[in-house]
């Protein structure tokens, strides 16, 4: 036995009887028992192994390198914009998504005449109430925009699992954005897509409304418009919260209204924050129009009396109570029917 040979005595495999007579002394003097290695131990352990069908386990002595990030903000969506995938998505959108959206949401589309003659690409900036918003909006876009539009989607929600990322990229042409902070990569990607001729759907609120009222707009849409010079089309979605609210588990049929506003561009010298506020105001006017009429909404806007998207700054129950009343609630009007109603449970979903 060479001196160096004591450092790597074989240890028994699990379930193998040790040889008590050999006592202690595995790895050097301080280590455990010198034990016998038996062939049955090898066989039994090899039998339990699923490698190479399953991924290999890592030896304990080998530090794992940091995993290569390819999800979240780092997910590569370029494959979803290749022609065969676009073709498949167009077939899906026109033959599955659109009929389903019309079946469930019965969308009434207003203001799409504002888009006539508008040269793309454009940025559709919409309020956000429900997961239904994206497929509904995509399926209701005029045909010349519909199949050339990408959607900015939350990296932490739609791209946190491989299957979700693949599905979002394929079905919605989504790409990841970081909604918690300004992220250079997602900003660059969005700008590149606009410059490549892709229209962009973005929800400047950064997430679905938790209670039916709107949230303050982030500056992403305004920034991209300022950077690329592409116009922003304000969009207001009304009624989708009743189909599938945040935290809701089942779909309910209801009527919805999609209102497109006049495309706007940043004024000379207008910074992104001010422009973002202007986009928010434009969507608020559209919201007002959805519950009143165009003329009323315009006059209120002229007087500076357009109701704010965020609703009153009061206790949650009073905000719920003050939600605009819809008289076209789902089915038998159980959620509407001309009465103020408590919003359905706001869950923990995003």
């Amino acid at each position: 036995m060479s001196p160096g040979a004591t450092s790597n005595r074989l240890r028994p495999t699990r379930g193998v009887r040790s040889d008590a007579s050999l006592g202690t002394g595995l790895r050097g003097a301080a280590a455990g028992a010198l034990r016998r290695y038996t062939p049955s131990g090898i066989a039994s352990r090899a039998g339990r192994s699923r490698f190479p069908l399953a991924a290999p386990s890592w030896p304990k002595s080998i530090p794992r390198p940091p995993e290569e990030r390819d999800l979240g903000i780092d997910y590569d969506t370029s494959w979803s914009r290749k022609y065969p995938v676009r073709l498949a998505r167009a077939v899906l959108l026109d033959n599955v998504t659109r009929p389903l959206a019309h079946l469930v949401a019965s969308p009434e589309i207003r203001g799409d005449d504002h888009l006539v003659g508008v040269e793309g690409p454009v940025i559709f900036a919409s309020n956000h109430l429900s997961h239904v918003d994206t497929p509904l909006l995509l399926s209701c876009l005029p045909l010349r925009f519909r199949h050339r539009t990408v959607v900015a989607a939350a990296a932490d929600y739609f791209f946190d699992r491989r299957w979700k990322a693949d599905l979002s990229s394929f079905a919605l042409a989504a790409f990841p954005i970081d909604r918690s902070k300004v992220n250079r990569r997602s900003a660059e990607l969005a700008a590149d897509l606009l410059e490549d001729g892709w229209n962009l759907v973005i929800f400047p609120e950064g997430g679905r409304s938790p209670d039916g009222w709107g949230q303050e707009f982030h500056g992403g849409a305004a920034y991209l418009s300022s950077r690329t010079g592409r116009p922003v089309v304000p969009v207001h979605l009304d009624g989708t919260r009743h189909i599938l609210p945040k935290g809701g588990g089942t779909l309910r049929r209801t009527k919805t209204t999609i209102t497109f506003g006049v495309p706007i561009v940043p004024d000379e010298g207008e910074n992104a924050r001010r422009f973002s506020a202007r986009i928010e105001s434009a969507v608020a006017v559209l919201a007002d129009e959805a519950t009143t009429d165009w003329w009323t909404a315009r006059r209120q806007a002229a007087r500076g009396e357009t109701p704010a998207l965020q609703g009153p700054d009061v206790a949650p129950w009073r905000r719920a109570w003050a939600l605009p009343v819809r008289d076209d609630g789902p089915g038998d009007g159980a959620d509407g029917g001309g009465r103020n109603t408590w919003p359905r449970r706001s869950g923990s979903g995003r």
Binding site: M1, S2, P3, G4, A5, T6, S7, N8, R9, L10, R11, P12, T13, R14, D19, L22, L26, R27, L34, R35, R36, Y37, P39, S40, G41, I42, A43, R45, A46, S49, F51, P52, L53, A55, P56, S57, W58, P59, K60, S61, I62
Partner: protein
């Protein structure tokens, strides 16, 4: 990112099964906890512009040597000798490194107005290369320019008229080399270094010599004193070659040595799993492995062998140096160690290894049982510096089918050696004393060597001598999954599974052995502390 160095893994419960070559197949073996697995360093990055590097080496020689253009002049005799089919392994993708180097040498020779140029394959007692193999090594341009005019020849160690006796070393060793090389004004030797054993004075003193010379160092005594072949400072084989090489230099033969280093990128991407550490196998690697191994398991050995022999290695040049033999070889050897060295603490009781389908002596041929022994005991066992990986009296376990199968065209004398000699004795000294001379001078083997594609009659003896150091050192050799009759003929013990082999090994080394596995490819050199 720079390549990761090699290292020694301590096997624990979480360690996945370890990949073993098994001839034309693979085995996954779960090694017992506490075993060690030696993983090779990752292949180093290749030269981005080999042509420029070659030109630089030729113009900036090492040692006491003028740049190549200064050695070339009109009217001179120039001979270019180069390594044969035994290197690299597997044969590399085109263009072969020999082609790259020789084309540049010929460019310079043409520019200098040298008319008398001949190329010689330095094959010693190896088989002659086929036209296809020569075309692969040299490229069509060189082959078509030289072969039709008889200016591309293969060294014939049995052609007395084509040999020149140089003299005897101070140890009484006869030195006899190729006449054309000896009588040239300049001999350019183009070498490929895959392991530390290759190159140096061994290139000419062995590659262009005859049986009369080779017998002085290709014998059991020399081999047993070579510890190991990969450490030229402790290798009697190299010491003898160095004595011969210096005598050749003193005789006035002007040698311009060109040595090249290759990286250890040994197999193409479809076999990427072979060079990876098992726990780093991606899904693609795992399914490649499953696909390849399942197909091979259902493929007849002959077909599987033919498939593997079509594989060309993506080896790339990592360094090239030229000039005086010893100065060049010192750099080349250091490059090899820098690339392939792995520090290993202490010896082991049991050394395991999986043997592939190929060795230097069966390119496009069968790895017969004698070559299996040579590959395991001669080559893999000797991949060390300082001390053998396995302790004296330890056990070597090799995994290989070891079929009783020979290529009669390439290895005719191997068949008789296996049938007649090994059935009598496996002792290298005994068989050297009683049988070597008869095989070396057998006219039929000489005829096949000179006119066909047969290894010399004495070659199987040399293969057995390569094993001499290991046979002397080891307590037992066990072959897992081999043909029991063939394995026993070699004097080894057959075992059907690794578990059985370990049980057998414990009879030799005791009940609680240490085990180390040599994981290859890529190739590695163990620096045993």
């Amino acid at each position: 990112m720079s390549p990761r160095p090699g290292f020694v893994l301590d096997v624990d419960r979480s360690t996945p099964p370890t990949l073993f070559w098994h001839g034309e197949r693979f085995r996954l073996e779960r090694l017992p906890e506490g075993s060690r697995v030696i993983y090779a360093p990752e292949p180093v990055e290749a030269l981005s512009d080999p042509s420029t590097a070659i030109r630089h080496a030729l113009l900036h020689p090492l040692g006491d040597k003028d740049p190549l253009p200064a050695l070339l002049r009109p009217g001179m005799r120039l001979t270019i000798a180069f390594d044969d089919i035994s290197l690299p392994l597997p044969p590399m993708e085109r263009p072969d490194i020999r082609q790259l180097v020789i084309e540049q040498v010929l460019d310079l020779a043409a520019a200098a107005g040298v008319d008398d140029v001949e190329l010689i394959v330095a094959l010693a007692l190896h088989r002659r290369m086929t036209e296809a193999e020569l075309r692969h090594a040299l490229g069509d341009r060189i082959y078509d320019a030289f072969a039709p005019n008889g200016l591309l020849s293969q060294h014939d160690a049995e052609d007395a008229d084509a040999l020149t006796y140089i003299g005897q070393t101070d140890h009484g060793e006869d030195v006899e080399i190729n006449r054309r090389a000896a009588e040239s004004d300049l001999l350019v030797y183009v070498n490929i270094n895959l392991v530390a054993m290759d190159g140096g004075h061994k290139s000419v003193a062995t590659g262009l010599s005859s049986y009369r010379s080779l017998r002085h160092h290709h014998n059991p005594e020399t081999m047993q004193k070579s510890r190991s072949f990969m450490d030229q400072h402790r290798s009697e084989l190299h010491t003898s070659n160095w004595r011969m090489g210096r005598l050749i230099a003193e005789s006035g033969i002007d040698i311009f040595q060109i040595e090249t280093n290759l990286n250890t990128d040994t197999f193409p991407s479809q076999f990427a799993f072979l060079q990876k550490r098992e726990w780093e196998w991606s899904a693609r690697d795992r399914f490649s492995f499953l696909g390849v191994s399942k197909v091979l398991d259902r493929t007849p050995s002959k077909v599987a062998r033919n498939i593997f022999h079509t594989v060309k290695a993506p080896h790339r040049m990592t360094a090239v140096q030229a000039g005086e033999v010893e100065a060049v070889h010192a750099v080349t050897t250091q490059n090899v160690w820098d690339q392939q060295g792995v520090v290993v603490e202490g010896q082991t009781d049991i050394l395991t290894m999986g043997l592939p389908y190929i060795s230097p002596y069966n390119v496009n041929s069968i790895l017969n049982p004698i070559l299996v022994a040579c590959l395991g005991l001669g080559y893999f066992f000797n991949l060390y510096r300082n001390k053998p990986l396995v302790r004296e009296g330890g056990v070597l376990i090799m995994s290989h089918p070891t079929a009783w199968e020979f290529n009669p065209v390439h290895h005719p004398s191997y068949i008789d050696f296996f049938e007649q000699v090994l059935s009598e004795t496996t002792d290298p000294g005994e068989l050297s004393k009683h049988y070597e001379e008869a095989y070396a001078t057998d006219p039929w083997y000489v005829h096949l060597y000179r006119t066909g594609h047969a290894y010399h009659g004495v070659h199987p003896f040399y293969m057995w001598y390569w094993c001499a150091h290991a046979l002397q050192h080891l307590g037992a050799v066990i072959v897992v999954g081999g043909d029991p009759a063939a394995v026993r003929r070699l004097g080894f013990r057959p075992a059907s599974t690794m578990a059985d082999a370990l049980e057998l090994a414990k009879d030799v080394v005791g009940p609680s052995p240490t085990l180390t596995h040599l994981h290859a490819p890529p190739i590695l050199m163990a620096d045993v502390q």
